[in-house]
């Protein structure tokens, strides 16, 4: 049978914008609408909310009963404690400052992070749901290697091994699905992760690693100390 049309199967709306549905005789034409099961907000949701809130407070009260908020010596501008630490959520930043000049660690990097977070929904890369190696794997690989190489050079230059090691580990993880094409399993799952997922995860890993190091592993003169030798 001669065909005067071409059927391409693809779920990607960008590549195959128009779709034709063939309805064969055997199946009845009907749209299967998924009927979402609805429940009343009161009491189903509200009860859950209240229980969650109560449990939250119970936990908080128990912590507050047994752990006292710190109160150190009265402020003394003439004596800088060693090390002087910011609150824990800034210790990642403080750790960055240890490696980079203040303008980079204190202004540019945190500024970039906030901007990057804000523009996430407006960047097309974040709307893609395909695994990062799905389209143009070669091109992607080159871009990827160039980027990782650049980052490696910069981090090595400033001796930021705390960032470099996790970065390289993650890069290796990213490359696994490129070389081992497999459906299913952990590798298959990794292969379906889009680029935006990798970038965000990289950011989270960095934030967690730096904050942990700054909080637990830094002592006088911002030297490396093990937590069991005292948390400063």
């Amino acid at each position: 049978m001669a065909k005067d049309f071409n059927v391409e199967r693809n779920s990607d709306a960008k590549k195959v914008p128009k779709r034709i549905a063939f309805i064969k005789d055997r199946t009845r034409a009907r749209v299967r609408q998924e009927e979402e099961e609805m429940v009343m907000t009161v009491p189903n949701l509200v009860a859950k909310e209240i229980i969650a809130f109560e449990i939250l407070i119970i936990v908080l009260v128990m912590v507050s009963l047994f752990v006292d908020a710190p109160l150190e010596w009265i402020a003394n501008p003439e004596h800088t404690p060693n090390p002087a630490k910011a609150p824990w959520y800034f210790l990642g930043l403080q750790e960055l400052l240890h490696y980079f000049p203040p303008i980079v660690g204190g202004v540019i990097l945190p500024g970039l992070v906030v901007v990057a977070l804000i523009i996430i929904p407006y960047v097309r890369i974040n709307l893609k749901t395909d695994g990062m190696w799905k389209d143009y794997p070669q091109k992607t690989l080159i871009g990827f290697l160039v980027f990782v190489g650049g980052v490696t050079v910069v981090l090595a230059m400033f001796h930021v091994y705390a960032m470099l090691v996790p970065t390289l580990l993650m890069s290796a993880l990213m490359l696994v699905p490129y070389f081992v094409r497999r459906e299913g399993g952990v590798i298959g799952w990794l292969g379906t992760r889009p680029l935006s997922w990798w970038v965000m995860t990289w950011f989270v890993v960095m934030a967690v690693v730096l904050t942990t190091i700054g909080t637990l592993f830094r002592g006088p003169e911002w030297r490396w100390t093990w937590p069991w030798n005292g948390i400063y």
Binding site: P43, N44, A47, K48, I50, I51, E54, I55, I57, I58, V61, M62, L65, L71, E72, W73, I74, N76, H79, P81
Partner: protein, 647 residues
């Protein structure tokens, strides 16, 4: 549905219970228990004591910026009935300060705002001032009382004296202390011999146990370098030079030598050298020990120095005795024979380090010898130690306890610093002053009182302004030459080894003073320190007595009275019976030894002085131990009349 209802009910109940825990805990606070205990305790007392209302109590002292809640539990502070009751309810011992006005922590330290035992003691994390241990409590007096001797605070006063005497301000800046006189090192190479210097540097107290010089714990090599360095300084200040020994010193025969020695021995005991100097530990403690001085220095130097001390030590408080060359020859010959240390060890053989000067200078500067000793050509290196004016406010986190392992508190730090000055750091340079534990504690107490707390001006007790009295003219020259200030105080200046002379002409009669200069004798034979015989010439004595009778006079002390037989008899009765004066004073060999004998007192003292003295001895001499018997004017006049008969 049912499950979620149960979950809802359960979580709500737990929620409410948990929220109630903290308010319930508030009902069981420690201090409430103490207050109930107190109310039970007072019920058993025979006296009526008002029960405590349950609630937090506090003393608020705005001018000292303190809120002290100690009285929440220390409820019996002012109840005499509770003297000796179990703590925390006992009454406070009587003190001169009202608790309501001063609060508690200004003296005791600790955490005033706290309402639990542990927190109020203040030995908790992040509290700077835990309660002062009992043996350091006088430190608190020092915060407001800045005068040198604080009544009722003997430890503090002793500590301040030690700080002044040890010349701590040579290295540390401390407000309120006077620099001490320390011998200059100019010409030391022409004064002492190297063997002595080496031994001295190694351990000064081995030569003279009471020396103020501290032990720097020099190594043998360092002591060698320092000795070589110092021996190089052979020229004296103001280009003074040593005269040769007089011809009289040459004793060709044994007999001549013995005669010289006898002369020297007589002169030495006449001059009462042991008033100030000790001989092998026996004698005065104002000046250095002479027991081994002939091994320290040469006869020639001794001759020159005794002849005119201030030529070599311009500010020394040693009087210039009017010895003839013959006398001096006898004195130094005697000293050579008697005051030699035959056990002085020869220092180990050594070849001088070729760089001994540079290295010696570096050591001299490192240990800030210049802080105490003058040395020509070496500039002032300034204070090398930390300032101690506010050391009592030092924060614990500013202290490096090193590996000392001592209790981490400021009192224990300061105490240890005094006993083992270099225990906290291997690079510490502070020397060892050889303080006994009591002395170390006294110094620590005095230092702890140096705080920067803001004390209102009206609550501070400031030391008296240092006297600027400086007599001029002939009298002034003599005072300097005889180093009168070394023992006597005049117009607020000088030491109080002997009498304060400021009112001497109101006290003693001129004739007596003149005679006293000629033949000084001790009024109190039990004292070591005695007025030496300077062998003053008559014109010199006239200069002294003229000035004294004009200047050392207080008009208000004059009190003429006529002696009648009746009044003298009444006085005698008072002397012997009513006031038992003979318990301490002797007349005609009968009576005690504590006070001076009163034979011939009428030829010594002015009638006004006796009268006023009897009325209030401490008004005239605060340090006097004569009891103030609060005599009436009539009684005092009668007693004076009796004493005036003792001519």
């Amino acid at each position: 549905m049912k499950r979620s209802r149960i979950a809802f009910a359960l979580s709500s109940v737990v929620f409410l219970v948990v929220l109630a825990i903290s308010p319930v805990k508030d009902m069981l606070l420690e201090w409430k228990g103490y207050q109930k205990d107190y109310n039970r305790l007072i019920q058993d007392l025979p006296q009526r004591v008002a029960p405590a209302e349950i609630g937090i109590r506090q003393i608020w002292v705005p001018k000292l910026d303190r809120v002290d809640r100690c009285v929440t539990c220390h409820l019996g502070m002012k109840e005499k009935a509770l003297a000796g009751a179990k703590e925390p309810f006992g009454a406070h011992p009587r003190i001169d300060h009202d608790v309501e006005e001063f609060g508690c922590t200004i003296c005791h330290e600790g955490q005033g705002p706290a309402t639990t035992y542990k927190e109020s003691i203040g030995k908790v994390a992040f509290w700077e001032h835990p309660m002062l241990p009992r043996e350091y409590i006088e430190a608190a007096c020092g915060k407001c009382h800045k005068e040198k001797t604080v009544t009722h605070a003997p430890v503090l006063s002793a500590g301040r004296k030690l700080i002044e005497e040890a010349n701590c301000i040579g290295c540390h800046k401390i407000a309120g202390y006077q620099r001490q006189w320390v011998p200059t090192l100019n010409g030391i190479g022409s004064k002492v011999n190297r063997a002595w210097l080496y031994a001295w540097l190694k351990d000064p107290k081995a030569y003279f146990p009471k020396t103020k010089m501290a032990n720097f714990h020099f190594t043998d090599a360092e002591a060698d370098i320092m000795a070589d360095f110092l021996m190089g300084f052979t020229s004296f200040s103001d280009s003074a030079s040593l005269d040769p020994l007089p011809a009289e010193a040459a004793a060709p025969t044994e007999a001549a030598k013995t005669a010289l020695e006898e002369l020297g021995s007589t002169r030495i005991s006449e001059a009462r050298c042991i008033s100030c100097h000790s001989i092998n530990g026996k004698g005065g403690s104002i000046a250095t020990d002479l027991g081994k001085v002939a091994s320290k220095t040469s006869q020639q130097w001794l001759y020159n120095y005794i002849k005119s001390p201030k030529r070599f030590q311009p500010k020394v408080l040693m009087p210039r005795f009017r010895f003839s060359d013959k006398d001096l020859a006898g004195v130094v010959t005697y000293m050579k024979t008697e005051y030699t240390d035959y056990d002085l060890a020869e220092p180990p053989k050594h070849t001088p380090d070729p760089q001994y000067y540079e290295k010696g200078l570096a050591l001299f500067k490192k240990y800030n010898c210049r802080g105490c000793h003058e040395l020509e050509g070496v500039g002032n290196t300034g204070e090398v130690g930390p300032e101690l004016t506010f050391v009592g406010s030092k924060k614990l986190y500013e202290i490096d306890f090193g590996q000392s392992g001592i209790e981490e508190s400021l009192p224990s730090y300061l105490f240890t610093k005094m006993t083992k000055p270099r225990v906290f750091s291997s690079v510490a340079k502070m020397p060892d002053f050889g303080f006994s534990p009591e002395e170390a504690r006294a110094v620590a107490v005095a230092l702890l009182g140096n705080t920067n707390e803001r004390i209102p001006e009206e609550m501070q007790v400031r030391p008296k302004q240092a006297s600027t009295y400086d007599p001029q003219g002939e009298f002034g020259k003599l005072v300097n030459d005889l180093a009168c200030f070394g023992c006597h105080t005049m117009e607020g200046r000088g030491r109080l080894v002997a009498t304060d002379l400021t009112q001497e002409a109101s006290a003693a009669k001129r004739d007596w003073i003149e005679n006293y200069f000629k033949v000084p004798y001790s009024l109190r034979p039990i004292l070591t320190e005695r007025m030496p015989n300077f062998r003053l010439s008559d014109p010199e004595i006239k200069v002294l007595t003229d000035y004294m009778s004009k200047v050392f006079l207080t008009d208000t002390l004059a009190h003429d009275l006529s002696v009648t037989e009746a009044s003298a008899a009444k006085g005698k009765l008072l002397y012997e019976e009513r006031y038992g004066c003979k318990g301490c004073h002797q007349i005609e060999g009968k009576g005690g030894y504590v006070g001076p004998p009163l034979d011939k007192v009428a030829s010594r003292l002015q009638s006004g002085w006796i009268f006023h003295w009897l009325k209030d001895p401490q008004a005239l001499r605060p340090e006097s131990i004569e009891p103030n018997n609060k005599l009436s004017d009539q009684e005092a006049e009668a007693l004076t009349a009796y004493l005036l008969t003792l001519k």
